[in-house]
Symmetry: none
Subunit: 406 residues, 2 copies
């Protein structure tokens, strides 16, 4: 039996007054999810633990069965992997913003006017920065963002961020977060990188051109979120399952890559509102022929939640539901539909409210709960589980668990 | 208030297509369980943890409140105790099969034709095997099975099995599973025992007779599942409850004995389909007069599950239900009805699907869920608990818990 895990990012919500205190998921018209509910078992899930408000990366780690307490050191490594960079064990990875500073290193714009063009050229220029004994890689990401890989002996990820958090303040000195010589050395290297970035970028043609056009120059990088790539047992090695990922967002591809999934590129899978829902579902079904496990990620409910736009959240849920139509006749596959966390429109950020989960397939107990939303799911046959319970339960349904004792 | 814990082994199941996706428990006519449900609270339970597929021994340990991570080293000690053998702390116990080998120690029949007669005589003969400094006891069990007790200084249970798992292969050398001198010594002793068993058994009259009748001789023992008897605080000492066990199967008697229960022998309690259900219930009610806690075990749902026979599973559940009739009028007793694990007919083995649980009594919150099956139980007032939660909850209902803090 194959496994299709569909994560609708930020799907869970809180009651919306305008919806008569229903949630967007509850209010959405979702005939396919409702049909699937008839052959499924439902429940609610705390990705990490009750009351713990998860970031997307640790939540996904938990859903894949990797304890975030052990494997999550920061978001950088996942962003880097998601960008397609090759990492080695022990690599220190930072995320950074291109920002604008004046000549006293006071931050004028933390995002360099949300620069979205020619950042590849800027990153290319940054790659000329050289530090003896340390290999450095700069790579641009979406808009004003990027990542830095730092590779070498005696480095640590226990260092602080350089972004002062608001304009009018000086770039923050990078501080070691423990007293190890590695952290002290790395913090000092980060400060050098910031200084060097200003030297390399301030007169770069991209910035001269921006200044001419009245735009803030991207004349510095502000590293933050240091993380380290630790050794990890891959999904296939651990579960004996060949796994593929279909996602638009870099972070999700990165987490999938981290656990050794095969990350597929699907035309139209953008991680934005403009994603091609149907293309992603079709690609997932196709991927199931060559994989045992397919992870399909939809970012859009989270975007709508962060925009505080419940109407849009309803709309994207309905678009996902439409796209799921081929699942109704899918055979020999355990379908799991859930989320990594809630993103209530009322607070425009992640919350710890548990997410609904539904598992559908021949071997799954049917709980006769019709429909799928946060409250109906809570009445289902799974009751309340945790993210780290998901893979053991899934593996047992497809009969791949070892017996504990005799 | 007294406590009656009824474990219906392997009771939980998965949907059966022929039952319109209901489970055997759901489909069974069970008027007494339904009447009991009206005065009870229900829930689902993971004997070990969600997604963990438990063996019967660790599952029962958990139900009795003994953490299997600490107390479960293997099945051997429970089989030995269940056979009525007296064990001492530190005893190493193996299970073994009588098997058939040729003169090059190649296994011809792993179960010696499922020999079921004169194994007592064979075990008696094996007891002449002598190893300096080590006390050895061989004891036959059901069919081709038996146990070996190894008692002495410097022994370990960290050794591998000798059964090659299929015919046509040589008996496996016993390997130490860690680098301790104890494990190395024990592994070498096990190899000697195998060799000696062949010497003692090959010309035994039972085997000469079997060969004459064209049956495979039981000319070797294949030890496996080494385990050790650790110190354990008894049930009465731990809970201040005098406990009795009524079970047919050796293993369940053994686990009960391990935790210090008084194991009663009931005529007709066989651990097979032919068990006398009513006699067991009557004996339990009688035992309740002299005990505070009675553990009543029914093996039959598990047998039917392992046979993949859902009709038979329905039938044995109905037989159990009939036998439970006297419970309707039982007073001053907390009745707990549950299972140690699920044994779905579709997979003919244990699964990690949670088991239903029902607790009935005057002091128990009534959850108004009518009936008792895997799905209805999940809607009950207990929600989802773990095996190790059971004893603390039971003790609290009967008001025997200590307050945590003040």
């Amino acid at each position: 039996m194959k496994i299709l895990l569909i994560v609708c990012d930020g799907l869970g919500d809180r009651p919306i007054r305008e919806l008569n205190y229903r949630t967007p998921l509850s209010a959405a018209e979702k005939p396919n999810l409702e049909r699937l509910s008839l052959i499924g078992i439902k429940g609610i899930m705390d990705a990490i633990a009750p009351g713990v408000r998860p970031g997307s990366a640790p939540a996904h780690l938990a859903l894949f069965g990797y304890d975030p307490k052990k494997y999550y050191t920061g978001r950088g490594i996942f962003e880097a992997l998601g960008l397609g960079l090759e990492l080695k064990e022990g690599d220190i990875v930072f995320r950074f913003n291109f920002a604008t500073v004046d000549d006293r290193m006071v931050v004028v714009d933390r995002r360099a006017g949300r620069i979205g063009e020619h950042t590849a050229e800027l990153a290319e220029a940054l790659n000329e920065i050289s530090i003896p004994g340390v290999e450095l890689v700069f790579k641009e990401a979406v808009e004003h963002r990027g990542v830095i890989i730092m590779r070498g002996e005696g480095l640590s990820w226990k260092v602080s961020d350089t972004d002062p958090g608001k304009t009018g303040l000086k770039v923050k000195k990078c501080e070691p977060l423990d007293s190890s010589p590695e952290a002290i050395k790395t913090a000092s290297l980060v400060d050098s990188i910031v200084k060097e970035s200003y030297r390399v970028l301030k007169d770069h043609w991209v910035n001269r051109d921006r200044v001419k056009r009245g735009l803030p120059p991207a004349n510095v990088v502000l590293p933050r979120g240091a993380s380290i790539l630790t050794k990890v047992e891959g999904f296939e090695e651990r579960y004996k399952l060949k796994a593929s990922c279909i996602a638009g967002g870099t972070l999700y591809k990165g987490v999938a890559k981290f656990v050794g999934m095969n990350v597929l590129n699907v035309a139209g899978a953008t991680g934005t509102y403009e994603t091609n829902y149907k293309a992603k579902v079709e690609a997932s079904l196709k991927a199931l022929t060559g994989s045992d496990f397919v992870f399909l990620h939809f970012k859009q409910p989270d975007l709508a939640g962060e925009d505080g736009d419940y109407k849009r959240k309803i709309e994207v849920i309905q678009r996902i539901d439409e796209a799921l139509e081929p699942l109704i006749t899918l055979e020999d596959t355990l379908i799991v539909i859930t989320a990594d966390h809630s993103t209530p429109c009322s607070i425009k950020t992640h919350s710890a409210d548990p997410v609904p989960i539904m598992m559908c397939g021949e071997e799954v107990r049917r709980d006769y709960v019709e429909g799928f939303d946060e409250i109906k799911a809570a009445k289902g046959g799974l009751n309340r589980i945790r993210g780290l319970d998901l893979m053991p339960i899934v593996l047992d349904v497809v009969n791949l668990t070892e017996k504990y004792g005799a």
